[in-house]
């Protein structure tokens, strides 16, 4: 009886650990990030990815975008893009605030990889501040890498470019 109870408890703990691992390290819920940026949560908007947008997004990402529409939030000249991109093996969820075609600030919201969490440090993220798109949908500056987190850094850079590109096309 006691053994069965212990076994059930162990299974429960394992299931909880697995569930937490599957969700990754949540630094901030995306909804909370949007609410923080705007003071409250405005109604989400949708950007449909036309074939042309898909082609350019694929060029930025190096692979076709996973979905055909992108939700975003926009109010008073400010837009928020919550994007997901694979670092090494798992998805990284990051939020980008774009004002006047420049990144106001970026934040890593959910990190699911086992290594490379350094990309959430403000010392890394501040490199994106005021970044804008230059020719060929590239950032107007180089982003310094982090040893051991190269793929996560690249994923963050791709997402930053995509956020700026989506912001530009969302304004028509």
């Amino acid at each position: 009886m006691i053994r069965a109870a212990f076994r059930s408890l162990a299974v429960l703990i394992l299931a909880l650990v697995a569930a937490v691992a599957a969700r990754g390290e949540v630094y901030q819920e995306p909804g909370a990030f949007v609410a923080e940026v705007f003071g409250s949560t405005p109604a989400p908007k949708v950007l449909w990815l036309t074939k042309e947008i898909q082609a350019q997004a694929a060029e930025i990402l190096g692979h076709p975008p996973a979905q055909l529409r992108q939700r975003y939030w926009s109010e008073g000249g400010k837009s928020v893009w919550i994007l997901e991109e694979t670092g090494k093996e798992e998805l990284i969820t990051a939020g980008f605030v774009v004002v006047d075609g420049r990144i106001d600030h970026a934040r890593v919201l959910v990190y699911r990889e086992s290594r490379g969490q350094e990309v959430r440090q403000s010392s890394f993220l501040k490199q994106f501040r005021d970044a804008k798109l230059s020719q060929g949908n590239r950032l107007d500056r180089g982003i310094d890498g982090i040893v051991g987190a190269t793929l996560s850094v690249r994923a963050m850079e791709r997402m930053a470019r995509l956020a700026l590109f989506f912001d530009r096309v969302s304004h028509g």
């Binding site: 908007k45 979905q67 694979t86 090494k88």
Partner: protein, 248 residues
Amino acid sequence: MSPKLLLLLFLRRWHARIGFTAVVFFLVLALTGLVLNHATDLGLDARYVHAAWLARWYGLAPESPRYAFRSGRHDLIAANGRWLLDGRISGDKFPQPVGLVELPDMLVVASSASLHLYRQDGALIDWLDRGALPGVPVRAIGSGARQLVLRTALGTFASADAVSWRRAPRGPIIWSTPAELSSAERERYTELLEPGISVQQLLRDLHSGRLAGRFGPLVVDVLALFLAVLSLSGAWLFLKPRHRRERR
């Protein structure tokens, strides 16, 4: 014969023997290491090998699908983290669905904490996680008045676009319910939905020896020692005659 020459001969002989014995293993280690270094660029983390014998080898007990969700012309069967939507496999790490609903312009699959929106041709429109849902867990999905309806722990909500949600108005709702599969269907779908192992995982386990079970890593440890011995004996065999010539 001098002891130094004897040592040299001994080393040369064993250097050749160890090298020859382990050549296949070293090649496997080198190739898997090389490929693993570029696994993400090669997309190996997203490629899965689906084979019953491999799943058995990994100790994965394949789960048989018990029911299907059907809506209009569409059907969804799920097992082992895989979805078979209208006969097409949708992925390898998918949650257990709670229902499927066909709307005029999209097809929606709900799990307890996510919604997957597809175009009629199966292309993914959007994926909504718990933060974008009006409430979790999602207990049921249905449709009413051409809108998507979710029954969640926080109440019942409706949406026309799965972006903006409001409390569901009173009215008839058709809820998605599972339909039991026949034993023949179950057998067919079990085969189609066999659990998979990512190619990256497979290579990693081959490289570390874990694919061979408990003692695999020990074998790789021994090979690593062999490699160290080969490096040292190789260096010795290279340097010693040179050193002797210089002294002469």
